[in-house]
């Protein structure tokens, strides 16, 4: 493409007045485009100009770029003497959906979730026993609401406490095929998640999958669910 220009590299006479080299202009457009794209804030024209090849006029580069994006899903917009990309106004409905921001699970919720995953079927009393602190109803509610934890059944012990387990969504979200894919103690150690000095009294159970019930567990019934629906006192938060 260069040969079309009659441009002799290094020839001093030509360097100054040569005002339009398509190759250079295109390169300048690409640079400006990448700069504006990658910048966290609207970026000043002066800054862009400083990074363009010499002899290129930043104003016309930006004008062409703006023009190129005019009909697109994204537009190049100028704010004072700064440039930024913005979603085309008529498409804001695609981008600005009503999605609320994803919330990070609290430490407490993560711990309870992990205990339920590994120790299922597990009762609330057992969860508290393992954690050594009381679990607020709120924490379990959050996990239920997230769709990761469910009532599994009832333990065949006095009081018939409800047992908790994980859901299919839980497996999907955490990329597990089945609950037994959770790493065991040796594997946690091997991956560096448990430190080398693991006390000998630390046992990690093999979780019991969805399809089976523990020996002393009864499936949950519709009646149980209704009953449980009645007892959802509102939570005292735990962290």
């Amino acid at each position: 493409m260069a040969e079309a220009q009659k441009f002799v590299p290094g020839d001093e006479d030509y360097e100054e007045e040569f005002s339009f080299d398509p190759r250079l202009e295109q390169e300048a457009e690409r640079i400006a485009e990448a700069l504006v794209f990658a910048s966290a804030q609207p970026i000043s024209e002066a800054y862009i100009a400083g990074r363009l090849p010499r002899g290129v006029d930043v104003g016309s580069v930006m004008a062409r770029l703006k023009n190129r994006y005019a009909g697109c899903g994204v537009n190049l917009v100028q704010v004072a003497d700064h440039w930024a990309f913005r979603t085309a106004a008529d498409l804001s409905f695609v981008v600005n959906t009503d999605e609320q921001e994803v919330r990070k699970l609290s430490r407490a919720a993560l711990e309870v979730l992990a205990i339920i995953a590994y120790h299922q079927p597990v009762t609330r009393a057992e969860i508290e026993d393992i954690r050594g602190v009381q679990t607020s109803k709120g924490t379990l509610d959050v996990l239920m609401e997230a769709g990761w934890v469910r009532f599994r059944g009832r333990r065949r012990t006095p009081g018939r406490p409800v047992t908790f387990g994980t859901t299919r969504d839980f497996l999907d979200h955490f990329g597990l095929e089945e609950i037994r894919d959770l790493p065991g103690i040796e594997e946690l150690k091997g991956a560096g998640l448990l430190s080398g000095r693991v006390p000998s009294n630390l046992n990690i159970p093999v979780p019991i999958g969805d399809d089976e019930f523990a020996e002393n567990e009864d499936p949950i019934t519709q009646m149980d669910l209704e009953e449980l629906g009645l007892l959802t006192p509102k939570a005292e938060e735990d962290d």
């Binding site: 966290a40 990761w148 990690i204």
Partner: protein, 272 residues
């Protein structure tokens, strides 16, 4: 390209004629072997395994002579290479299934090639155009897409770290007695299983093991554990044992019920 693994002899404290100083520069016996192999300056598929075995053994001898402690791994490899060397030098009569010296040598060459290939791959990988260094994302994203059905986010890594930390915290911490450098029976058994599996002839195997132990402390545990383990294995018919008289070398060879590859794999898996 930013090289990751250059043969920086100096950095590794290794010099052509004056071998050995800093074993810590190597990541295990295979790494050391690969380094030595490269110094033969040939394509890995045309490498002389015999020469390599000799170089390695010389390296280990040298480390002993200047009293550098070598980890058990290096010594086990030395013993294995010594055995390999004997197989290569004295061709076996075509007896039963046991792999020939050549087969063993080609297996070693394969492992070296594979390790080198992975290193080259790692170098290529790390020199690619990388996100955040060469390639950039939209600096001012306008939204965060939530494709999840849940409003909450957590990764499996988060989950496992939380669980591991919790369990560790809750478990009663015990007094740990200072760790002693010992070969457990399990270690010894596994080492014997690996090595004796292919021994057709009477070999003073404990001699190999002990010969390369540098610290006297470790020597006792190595003798004891491998001897105890060998008795157990004789009982199981895994190997046979012979000793001419008190304090004479103990010879071992494969027993009538040798450990096959599958059993060995299980043993290794059991050790995690």
């Amino acid at each position: 390209m930013e090289p990751l693994w250059h043969d920086e002899s100096a950095r590794r404290g290794l010099h052509e004629d004056e071998l050995v100083v800093d074993i810590a520069g190597f990541e295990g016996p295979l790494d050391l072997l690969l380094h030595l192999a490269r110094s033969q300056r040939v394509d890995l598929s045309r490498i002389s395994v015999l020469a390599l075995a000799e170089q390695y053994i010389a390296f280990v001898e040298r480390a002993r002579s200047i009293r550098i402690e070598l980890a058990a791994d290096y010594l086990v490899m030395a013993a294995w290479l010594a055995y390999l060397k004997s197989r290569l030098l004295i061709p076996q009569p075509a007896k039963d299934e046991g792999p020939s010296g050549e087969e063993m040598a080609s297996a070693l060459a394969f492992r070296l090639k594979r390790l080198e290939a992975m290193r080259d791959a790692a170098t290529k990988l790390v020199n690619r155009n990388r996100l955040g260094r060469d390639i950039f994302v939209r600096g001012a994203p306008e939204h965060i897409v939530t494709e999840r059905r849940s409003d909450y986010d957590a990764s499996l890594y988060d989950l496992l770290t939380a669980y591991a930390a919790l369990r560790q915290r809750q478990a009663i911490t015990q007094v740990t007695i200072e760790k002693r450098h010992v070969w457990s029976l399990g270690d010894a058994r596994l080492i014997l299983a690996r090595m004796v599996g292919s021994l057709d002839d009477w070999t003073a195997l404990d001699h190999f093991l002990i010969r390369y132990m540098t610290s006297p402390k470790e020597r006792a545990t190595a003798i004891a554990s491998s001897f105890a383990a060998s008795l157990e294995m004789v009982r199981e018919g895994r190997l046979e044992i012979r000793q001419e008289g008190a304090f004479t070398p103990i010879y071992l060879r494969r027993g009538p019920n040798p450990i096959d590859a599958a059993t060995l794999a299980e043993m290794e898996a059991a050790r995690g």
